[in-house]
């Protein structure tokens, strides 16, 4: 292969960088987003092509094998079910972090014992962040795929152990910055963050996954940026910074939506908070309704807002929900969807699941758009969501979720909740919404119950 001068390669990288930024810019809305992918793909192809033309490359065999194997693994990962996208995303964070860690390791052994201090510092950052993101993301993927127990596992002194591990890794890094020839320390600087990554995810439950995945996204980006410093590649620094800031923004949005700080998500496993609220449930009564009654009320409504939660995805009910949407829309009912930022297992997950079921995206409202509409809504239909509709978050100072922004479902004229049983949500908190006079509980499996409502609606259409 012909080799090209470094200046030309740098110009190719410059164009690739511009395309990456445009790619993200075009992601801002659904009409331009696919153009964004094209820009990203062209930028990537240019960057890889440019690299292959570099002077230093003498042997293409291993590169070819790597690219072919990568493509073979990548294609199935690009074709997973939409419900499996969160674990796929976690897995790809692990792959990205794996790449960065391996490159950092190789660079260290190529350069030792003469590694300038700044370079050793960023190399340590690269390897520590990469290693903990690698195992942390694998753990997250395992929990999401349910090959690992989803319940948070906590023990006494957990935070102490975790922070201790991290402190040791940092201490080793400092030592290596001072004495980069001490190669025997390097494996520990990888091994300890690998263990830390596992320990970090052990206490985290399913409902915290949106925040955790975003945070791991951010770490993966930062480690890649650190790698850019080591390799003196502006392209990598910029791509890493973009990815890092994206993950960071998403984690801020997610933790705000749960009214929790990062520190609280990472160090304060939920679960220990049930005690206060769960006491006085048996005295209260709920009203329940059949599919026939629910269908009647929905058919008579002018405006319906459906509030989907992760329970809907678990029950695979989204296609039945789409049938309900069609059936009601045909009768002239205005049907929209209200989506809480943490509905699902990763940011925006619920939107993708509903889009997959062919529900038009302009019917999907985020929390800020949906809340002013609930007071004018005839029926709010809650499917598989719980804590994000709990009015105690607004009113009950003693509630563990007090202050968490919620969907104001209780302001609708009638509320219907499809639920298997009266068991509480992930936080173990009772939901006063269920005991309101205007609330009807529809007990059953989400998919089955929505299907029954659809059947009632189409049946009554013939009268």
């Amino acid at each position: 292969m012909a080799h090209v001068s470094n200046t030309i390669i740098e110009i190719i990288y410059l164009i690739a960088t511009a395309l990456f930024i445009l790619s993200l810019k075009w992601m801002s809305g659904p009409t331009t987003a696919r153009r964004g992918i094209r820009a990203g793909e062209v930028g990537m192809a240019l960057a890889i092509g440019g690299t292959l033309l570099e002077h230093g490359i003498v042997d293409y065999r291993w590169i070819a094998i790597g690219l072919v194997l990568g493509a073979i693994i990548g294609v199935p990962l690009g074709l997973v079910q939409m419900t499996a996208v969160p674990q796929r995303t976690a897995l790809s964070h692990a792959f990205g972090a794996c790449c960065v860690t391996l490159v950092g390791t190789a660079e260290f052994y190529l350069r030792t014992p003469y590694v300038p201090r700044f370079m050793m510092s960023v190399l340590s950052l690269e390897v520590i962040l990469g290693a903990l993101t690698f195992t942390g993301s694998l753990m997250a993927a395992g929990k999401l795929q349910e090959v690992l127990p989803q319940r948070p596992i906590t023990y006494k002194g957990q935070n102490f152990v975790n922070l201790g591990l991290l402190a040791i890794a940092v201490a080793i890094a400092v030592r290596l910055v001072m004495h980069p020839g001490q190669t025997h320390l390097f494996p520990f600087m990888i091994g300890i963050p690998l263990i830390f990554g596992v320990m970090m995810i052990v206490p985290i439950g399913g409902a915290d996954m949106p925040t955790v995945i975003s945070l791991l996204n951010s770490y993966a980006g930062l480690s890649a940026a650190a790698m850019g410093f080591v390799l003196n590649s502006k392209l990598l620094i910029i791509a890493g910074a973009l990815d890092g800031s994206s993950g960071f923004i998403l984690s801020v949005i997610m933790s705000k939506a749960m009214n929790r700080s990062f520190a609280n998500v990472l160090f304060g496993a939920f679960g220990q908070v049930q005690s206060s609220a769960a006491a006085d449930t048996e005295a209260k009564t709920v009203r329940s309704a059949t599919a026939e009654e629910a269908a009647g009320i929905l058919a008579a409504a002018n405006k319906v807002i459906i509030v989907p939660g992760y329970g809907m995805a678990v029950a695979q009910a989204q296609h039945k929900v789409r049938e309900l949407y069609d059936s009601l829309t045909k009768r002239g009912v205005d049907v929209k969807f209200a989506i809480h930022p943490v509905a699902g297992r990763m940011p925006g997950h619920m939107n993708v699941l509903l889009a997959e079921a062919d529900i038009p995206y302009d019917k999907l409202m985020d929390m800020d758009d949906a809340n002013p509409e609930f007071p004018q809504t005839d029926v709010a239909l809650v499917i598989g969501a719980n804590d994000v509709t709990n009015p105690a978050a607004r009113t009950d100072v003693s509630s563990p979720i007090y202050g968490m922004p919620i969907l104001d479902v209780d302001k609708a004229r009638t509320i219907m909740v499809i639920k298997r049983s009266m068991s509480p949500g992930f936080a173990g908190i009772d939901n006063p919404l269920y005991y309101l006079d205007k609330t009807l509980m529809l007990f059953g499996d989400a998919k089955g119950f929505v299907g029954d409502i659809v059947r009632e609606l189409s049946g009554s259409a013939h009268h």
């Binding site: 590169i63 790597g66 990548g74 796929r88 792959f95 190789a106 996204n217 940011p347």
Partner: protein
Amino acid sequence: MSPDLIINSLFVFMLAGFIGFEVIRRISPLLHTPLMSLTNALDAIAVVGAIALAGEGKSTLATILGTIAVVAAFSNVVGGFLITDRMLRMFKSSRPQKP
């Protein structure tokens, strides 16, 4: 690594961080999942570092680690773009599209 080079790189990092912040803040929550899979694919640009290691033949260790790194990063390139495209194809409007 000269001090100039370090400072230059830090400037680049800072500016890119701000650009990322401003660009990504404007992205609708509707598209947060495809956003994450897209940034994941773009982040896999780390593959260029891996390619250099795998091809430069500086040491056996570097070649082995570089090759594995190429596999890991390139699977993200392929998988990331593929799934982002699949997701975005599903987003349809109820209003007729303008030609």
